[in-house]
Symmetry: C2
Subunit: 202 residues, 2 copies
């Protein structure tokens, strides 16, 4: 039985595409992306999913209370018997209801070396702070912003002539690489969580 | 004329020793460590300085107001015509008076990838948070804790079986390397500060 991945996105979802490529190439073995859900009409990621023959659903979030909305999303995910939920540029905080419903089954990728620079515009924050290294973080999602236990991180240099765009491009390449690797680790179950630490097991 | 470095420490001062080695080996050219000041009696770093023939001064800080104490230290540094002040395990916050007196002439090294894990026990903080990469940061010192513009950072992996001790040892090796490199950059004047960013120049 293939493990079933659900993706939540709000925009272009380049990390969704990277995951889809990794599934197709066997870098995430015995898995499939079963459904892509967007909270926004017209999210380019939905069109890209359709062109790959992956099922999609648009559930507009506008005007809905967080939990009311999340119950709709959870129902679709359950209907599709999803094993793992991957956020890919999903611009919403999850309700405690949603997080509690899928314990340690929701992953996110964030474009910084957490706990540095949580929230929006991490690359701009990094440049303004003047760090010499930046990177990205795959973590389990809890009810706090960009705060759950960390599965993988990858580092890139910050160069003197970097702009937000050039730094973003360098980080994004690493995002695509480590998100797939983290999904593989989690789906294979080869980890344990001690406190906040995610440790590898055989 | 050699550039004159003053070191402030409170304990063993392993970063002081690394700087002294780098000066002796020519990795920090045209420089000398002119004075090592400790705020604590019996700091092992003082003995080590003496064994290298470097001048030392113990100025006990106990019971003195921050600025009152810092004026005594500043007077000794000025007496020795110091070009650059390097903190090496100096367990005191500097007063605004002291920071203003030596603008962009005070360096510190911190055992984390700032802005993550400022303050004490950074390695323990990193392990408890569960980050997968750690490291160290050389920065200019301002009146805030572990907060001035960053000159260099270096990254090390955090391993699943790391203890505070093993992680500390891995980071310390990088501290010794990049502190010397940062001192060289600053003494050669081959940098500019834009906002919070320290950029290299020729």
């Amino acid at each position: 039985m293939k493990k079933r991945i659900g993706v939540l996105l709000s925009g272009r979802g380049s990390n969704f595409e990277a995951l889809a490529e990794s599934v197709a190439a066997g870098r995430i073995p015995n898995a499939e992306i079963s459904i892509v859900i967007s909270n926004r009409e017209g999210a380019p990621g939905i069109e890209r999913a359709e062109s790959r023959g992956i099922g999609t659903r648009v559930i507009p979030s506008k005007g809905l209370e967080r939990e009311t909305y999340d119950r709709q999303v959870a129902a679709v995910l359950e209907e599709h018997k999803i094993d793992l939920i991957c956020l890919a540029g999903y611009m919403r905080l999850l309700s405690p209801y949603f997080v509690a419903k899928f314990p340690n089954r929701i992953l996110n990728i964030h474009p910084s070396l957490l706990p540095s620079f949580p929230g929006l515009e991490s690359q701009r924050q990094a440049l303004e702070y003047g760090v010499k290294v930046a990177g990205c973080t795959v973590h389990f999602v809890d009810e706090n912003l960009d705060a759950g236990p960390i599965i993988l991180q990858s580092v890139v240099p910050v160069k003197d002539d970097d702009t937000e765009e050039s730094l973003n491009a360098r980080i994004l390449k690493e995002e695509h690489r480590i998100y797939s690797e983290a999904v593989r680790i989690v789906l294979e179950g080869k980890y344990k969580i001690e406190g906040r630490r995610v440790l590898r097991t055989n």
